[in-house]
């Protein structure tokens, strides 16, 4: 179908018949600004094709003119399969009409026309709804050009018809879809991306559980059998133990050993006694020998000791002399030093007394100075008192005088204000007439009188009569009040000051200020007499000064009494004494240092001499004591036993030792088992009895324990449970293997189906893709289009990566959608069914570069496909270089 002309009247905004003619092959552009009615024209094309003339739908009612509701009429001229067709419809509800005429010949009306149209263009109608099919895809309304290419089922069927005519039936139809779905569903029941699930997972887990149980049971069974073997072995042990043991013989053997032990013990006791006797004899012989030796040694020691003592006594005598000499020397030097020290002490005491005297003299001086100051201050104070009284008597302070002056100024101002408006009354009297003239009852006492009158005034001339003056003033009362107030204020101020006028007040103030100056000078003089002293901590002021004088007087009396001074010496004399005392002290200190140094040598010599003497005396005492004790000991020993007696005793004891040794040797020579040997045997035999009983008891206990364990466990039927668990494991393992295999089967099946399906789709969509491809290469070099089986654009593949269509920019989406439509149109053309592509305000999102490329693409496509572009952008679309359509009056 190629559109050739469109004519409308009374359609929506267009009341007057309008016509677009001369729509050619290739690209046609209709340019119009917004609100021009481009979309209305698009609606008209859609309406005349897809809406029935008699339809009373909202859509057809909307065709009427906005205001006059006249009957809309549309006429479309088009070419189809080499013939020229005219389709005309009047949308008038029940009265609607449709005509379809082929060239100048065949003509269809109303329902026939509608049916023929439907047949020709291959769109569908179900009930009241029209399914525009491929035309809906190719005629792109404003705002629908981007996004998916709006392939509805009927359009898809049309396209699929075209495709299948080219590539044959490749899909499996609805059955083909159901099989992979069923397989995938079955597979997903058994596995997920995380591994086995559902029944499969449960069986694996049960299998694991049963295997763990088997391991546990096997361990238990093995333990049980080990216990059984152990029990049999222990019983055998017990039998062997009992068989090998003879209790009676063992006990008899122990008894025999015990009787043997008694004999052996007796023998051992005798030997022990003999040995003790021998040891005693030896001990005594030793002692006799030692005694004899000691006697000899003592006698030998006394002679040399006496010599040593004589020598020591001589040494002690000379040491005592040396000590005497050293002591005399030290005493002499110490005497001299003591004299020096006494002199120093006396000189220091003198110095201290002189200091006190000096302090006393100074205090007396200070008393005198302070007393003179006090007298001066007291005299000044009397004068100041007088001055203060005088000042107090004068009331004219600067403030009071100021106030009087201000009042005076106000009075002057008030009088001036009055005089400005007042009536001047001047009275000149003759000399004799003077007394008889009165103003307001007050006699005029001067010959020339001038009055400023603001109030009614009566001049009474005695014997003549009265003259009334009545100034006509509007604010006379205010003026008078101000004047009166000012006068009263001035009078009051002066009265306070106690003067008659302001000049007197100034004079009084001047007097007062003079007095105040004097008082101030006096105060400063008083302050100078008692300035205070930070060093002596004397506060400024008279009181502090007086207190200090009292304090000093007290101190002077006390010190004079303490120092026993009847009169005070003069200061210069005292200071001279002090200087001399200091010199004397310095000299004494030097002499004492020298004397101290001179004492060191003699002291050291004395100490050494004393030490030497002490050592000699100690030694002498020790040797003398030793000699005395030795003499005493020797004497005492000889009194007990003589030297001869000692020698005889030594010989006697040697004989006794010899006898005792012979007795021991005799006893030792007697043979026989020792007690220790017999004891060892008894111990061994007793241990054997004990060990046998212990071992027997232990074995019996172990047998009882094992039997207990076995009887506690045998009822469980470990092997039976194990067999059941093993059977269960075998069944579960078979089930796991079966499911494992099923998963493999389903995976292979799903994979094979998916691959085959993908390949089939690729083959099936190849014609569309191959038609889009040249255009896409012009738009996006190096890009490939991925369509899904529904002819929807799924993605664009660039550089090996697939970009999901809906993720692309709006502009790119729209451009690709337009390309796809061109490809669809070409697909139809390939089936001998040329189709028009209408783009209403499309490509609005394209940038400059892209729109140029799109123009190239449209131009290239226009070689085979009729394209109608409706746009509001004249300047831009001029570059498309297309045929321009005009909307003309019909």
């Amino acid at each position: 179908m190629k559109i050739r002309s469109l004519e409308i009247s009374n359609f929506r905004k267009f009341t007057q018949p309008k016509r677009i003619a001369g729509i050619g092959d290739g690209i046609n552009v209709l340019v119009g600004p917004n609100e021009f009615g481009k979309s209305t024209l698009m609606e008209a094309i859609n309406g005349v094709v897809f809406e029935k003339a008699r339809a009373q739908s909202t859509q057809t009612r909307s065709f009427r003119h906005f205001s006059d509701r006249t009957t809309p009429e549309i006429c479309l001229g088009f070419e189809l399969e080499g013939a020229t067709w005219t389709l005309r419809k009047r949308f008038a509800g029940q009265a609607g009409k449709a005509w379809l005429q082929k060239g100048a010949g065949q003509r269809f009306e109303d329902e026939e026309a509608e049916a023929e149209l439907q047949r020709l263009l291959g769109f569908g109608v179900s009930g009241r709804t029209t399914e525009p099919g491929i035309w809906g895809t190719l005629w792109v309304r404003q705002g629908e050009s981007f996004g998916q290419s709006a392939v509805d089922d009927r359009a898809r069927q049309t396209l699929q018809g075209c495709l299948e005519a080219q590539v044959g039936v490749v899909t499996g139809g609805s059955r083909g879809r159901r099989l992979p779905d069923a397989v995938e569903a079955a597979l997903s029941e058994l596995t997920s991306s995380r591994g086995p699930r559902g029944k499969y997972k449960a069986i694996i887990e049960r299998h694991d559980g049963v295997r763990a149980e088997i391991a546990e049971l096997e361990q238990k069974r093995d333990l049980l059998f080990t216990h059984m073997t152990e029990l049999a072995s222990r019983r055998k042990d017990l039998r062997n133990l009992e068989h090998d043991w003879n209790e009676r013989d063992t006990k008899a053997e122990i008894e025999l050993a015990r009787s043997k032990r008694i004999e052996a013990e007796k023998r051992a006791e005798e030997l022990k006694t003999a040995r003790a006797g021998k040891m005693l004899a030896e001990e005594r012989a030793n002692r006799a020998d030692q005694e004899l030796e000691a006697r000899k040694a003592l006698g030998d020691e006394i002679g040399p000791l006496e010599g040593t003592i004589g020598e020591l006594q001589t040494q002690v005598g000379s040491a005592e002399d040396a000590v005497g000499q050293a002591t005399a020397q030290v005493a002499d030097r110490e005497g001299k030093l003591r004299t020096l020290n006494d002199r120093q002490r006396s000189t220091v005491e003198t110095g201290q007394r002189l200091q006190r005297v000096l302090e006393l003299v100074r205090a007396a001086h200070e008393i005198e100075t302070h007393s003179a100051g006090v007298a001066q201050i007291e005299s000044d104070e009397a004068e100041a008192k007088l001055l203060a009284e005088q000042i107090g008597a004068i009331a004219a302070t600067p403030d009071a005088v100021g106030r009087a002056q201000t009042a005076e100024i106000e009075l002057t101002k008030a009088a001036a204000a009055r005089d400005v408006v007042a009536t001047i009354v001047t009275i000149s009297l003759d000399a004799e007439a003077g007394r008889s003239v009165m103003i307001d009852g007050v006699p005029v006492d001067s010959r020339e009188t001038t009055r400023s009158v603001v109030d009614n005034t009566v001049v009474n001339i005695e014997g003549v009569g009265r003259i009334g003056v009545q100034p006509q003033l509007a604010d006379k009362h205010a003026l008078l009040r101000r004047l009166e107030n000012a006068q009263a204020a001035r009078d009051s101020a002066l009265q306070t000051l106690g003067v008659a006028d302001l000049a007197s007040a100034h004079s009084a103030l001047s007097t007062r200020q003079g007095l105040e100056g004097k008082l101030d000078a006096l105060r400063k003089a008083m302050a100078r007499h008692a300035p205070g002293n930070k060093e002596t901590r004397l506060a400024p002021g008279l009181d502090a000064l007086k207190l200090r004088i009292e304090e000093l007087r007290g101190r002077r009396i006390a010190e004079a009494s303490a120092l026993e001074l009847p009169s005070l010496p003069d200061l210069a004399g005292v200071e001279q004494d002090i200087a001399e005392n200091v010199t004397a002290l310095r000299q004494l200190a030097g002499e004492i240092d020298a004397a101290d140094a001179g004492l060191t040598g003699p002291n050291k010599a004395l100490a050494q001499a004393r030490t030497a003497l002490q050592e000699l005396r100690t030694k002498l005492a020790s040797e003398t004591g030793s000699l005395a004790s030795k003499r005493t000991a020797l004497e005492a020993a000889r009194n007990q036993a003589s030297d001869l007696q000692l020698e005889a005793a030594v010989l006697h004891h040697a004989e006794l030792v010899k006898n005792a040794a012979a007795a021991v040797a005799e006893l030792e020579s007697e043979s026989g088992e020792t007690v220790a040997e017999i004891n060892a045997r008894i111990l061994r035999l007793e241990n054997a009895v004990r060990a046998y009983h212990d071992q027997k008891a232990g074995t019996e206990k172990e047998i009882a324990r094992l039997a207990g364990v076995l009887s506690a466990n045998e009822g469980e039927g470990i092997e039976e449970r194990l067999a059941a668990a093993q059977d269960n494991a075998a069944r579960l393992e078979a089930a796991v293997q079966e499911l494992e295999q099923e998963v493999k089967v389903l995976e292979l099946l799903a994979d094979t189906l998916r691959t085959a399906e993908a390949e089939a789709k690729a083959r099936y969509l190849a014609p569309v893709v191959s038609r889009v491809e040249p255009y896409l290469k012009m738009l996006l070099p190096g890009a490939d289009l991925v369509l899904d089986e529904n002819m929807d654009i799924a993605a664009v593949k660039r550089n090996g990566f697939e970009e999901e269509f809906t993720r692309l920019s709006k502009g790119t989406q729209e451009q690709i959608a337009v390309l796809t439509r061109l490809a669809f149109a070409e697909l139809l053309l390939g089936q001998g069914r040329p189709a028009t592509v209408i783009l209403d305000d499309a490509l609005v999102f394209s940038d400059d570069d892209r729109i140029e490329r799109m123009f190239d693409i449209l131009t290239r496509a226009a070689d085979r496909t009729q394209i109608i572009v409706l746009t509001c952008r004249q300047r831009l679309f001029t570059r498309l270089g297309a045929r321009t359509l005009q909307l003309q009056d019909a």
Binding site: G168, V169, V170, T171, G172, G173, R175, G176, R178, L179, P180, A182, V183, A186, R221, L224, F225, M228, L231, A232, R235, A707, L710, S711, E714, G715, E716, G717, I718, E719, E720, R721, A723, A724, Q726, D727, N728, A729, A730, R731, Q741, K744, V745, L746, L748, L749, T752, L753, T755, A756, E757, E759, A760
Partner: protein
């Protein structure tokens, strides 16, 4: 002297290769064998039942499992039960025999845990010479003592042992050998043997009774049908010490175990297989079946196999153990057309078929074949849906 000879009850045995409910039925059947033997003894007027070893399957059984057969024996007070420890339930200190001895044993139940002749009849000179196992396996012939163990002249001597007869092709047991001439050398009227689950006569006086309830899918040598070993006991009648005993087989098994092997080469054979299986027994509920199928069938054939065999037959029998690992799927053009004649699903089916035929990767080929089967079934299912 008339008695019943049985062995290898192996009570407590489990059947892991079956689902738990089936395994439970089979375990119950083993317990019930004692009652069956007792009833047969009563019916045939036998004084005793000799159980020649492996009465129990394991040493450590639960008290209940141990006590149940004893309680079943108590129900037949006129029958004397003589129990011999075998390799599964050999004698050991504090073992199951000790446990049973310490429990409340009925007077008619006797354990023979030590070798040596014992009189087992009050009114006649009948001696039992048991050869109990003290270990799982023993190198010595434990029946040897019977040759020298003297009994009163004219007494009936009955030997009872558990093990393999020397020189016979045994069930795989490699120890506990017993001399085949023991009955003669020891002057035994009868030697009751256990261990082999198949009933077998060694000589006139020496028999294996076999297990009273089958427990393995093992066919006897030169089997003519699919029935497996076990399920019978022996009724032994010894008129006198020197007489040859009369030995009669008695049916005891609750379930019959069958092992069927079949090669399928075309889909049509599946119906035949179903018919044959249904003819195994009048009451299929008492059949335990091991079906081994090999060969190759189409996807449609496989669907039929699953409908008729793995579902219908499996439901009809007590238990079905199926081994179809060698049954190869050979999808036909019709199978693939059934999936789809064109379109990507058909492309996928063709690819899976090629993969399944690729011998270079057997495990993948197997998965691919199963995937194709799944696709075939999913397609059928999807057609069932609206």
């Amino acid at each position: 002297m008339r008695f019943i000879h049985s062995s290898d009850l192996q009570i407590g045995k489990t059947f892991g290769f079956f689902e738990a409910d089936v395994a439970s039925l089979l375990q119950d059947a083993r317990q019930a064998a004692v009652g069956t033997l007792g009833e047969l003894a009563m019916r045939h007027d036998a004084q005793a039942v000799l159980l020649a070893g492996d009465i129990f399957d394991k040493q450590q059984l639960s008290q209940i499992t141990l006590a149940k057969p004893i309680e079943a024996m108590r129900r037949f007070p006129k029958v004397n039960w003589h129990l011999l420890p075998g390799n599964h339930d050999h004698v050991r200190d504090n073992g199951l025999w000790d446990r049973l001895t310490h429990s409340q044993l009925p007077a008619n139940v006797n354990f023979h845990v030590a070798a040596g002749a014992v009189s087992i009849a009050d009114d006649a000179a009948v001696f039992l010479l048991p050869a109990p196992l003290r270990y799982i396996s023993s190198v010595d012939d434990l029946t040897a003592y019977m040759d020298s163990d003297v009994t009163p002249e004219g007494a009936i001597r009955i030997g009872m042992a558990h093990g393999s007869i020397q020189g016979f092709d045994s069930d795989g047991e490699t120890s506990n050998y017993i001399s085949p001439n023991r009955a003669d050398s020891a002057g035994l009227s009868y030697l009751a043997l256990g261990d082999w689950h198949r009933q077998m006569k060694v000589n006139d006086r020496t028999w294996y009774s076999g297990t009273p309830e089958p427990d393995r899918f093992k066919l006897p040598p030169n089997a003519t049908d699919s029935r497996c070993n076990g399920g019978a006991a022996l009724l032994v009648d010894i008129p006198s010490a020197r007489a040859t005993p009369t030995v009669t087989a008695l049916e005891t098994g609750r379930y019959r175990w069958h092992r069927v092997q079949r090669i399928l080469t075309e889909d049509g054979q599946i119906d035949r297989l179903e018919t044959d299986l249904r003819a195994l027994a009048p009451n299929l509920e008492r059949v335990v079946l091991y079906l081994e199928v090999s060969g190759a069938i189409s996807l449609a054939g496989r669907k039929a196999f699953e409908d008729k065999i793995t579902q219908s037959i499996a439901a009809a029998v007590c238990g079905l153990r199926l081994d179809d690992r060698q049954l190869i799927l050979e999808p036909t053009e019709a199978d693939l057309d059934e999936i789809d004649r064109a379109g990507f699903v058909r492309v996928a089916a063709d690819r899976l078929k090629a993969m399944a035929a690729d011998d270079s990767d057997r495990s993948r080929a197997q998965i691919a074949a199963l995937a194709l089967k799944r696709l075939f079934l999913e397609n059928l299912r999807s057609q069932d849906r609206p």
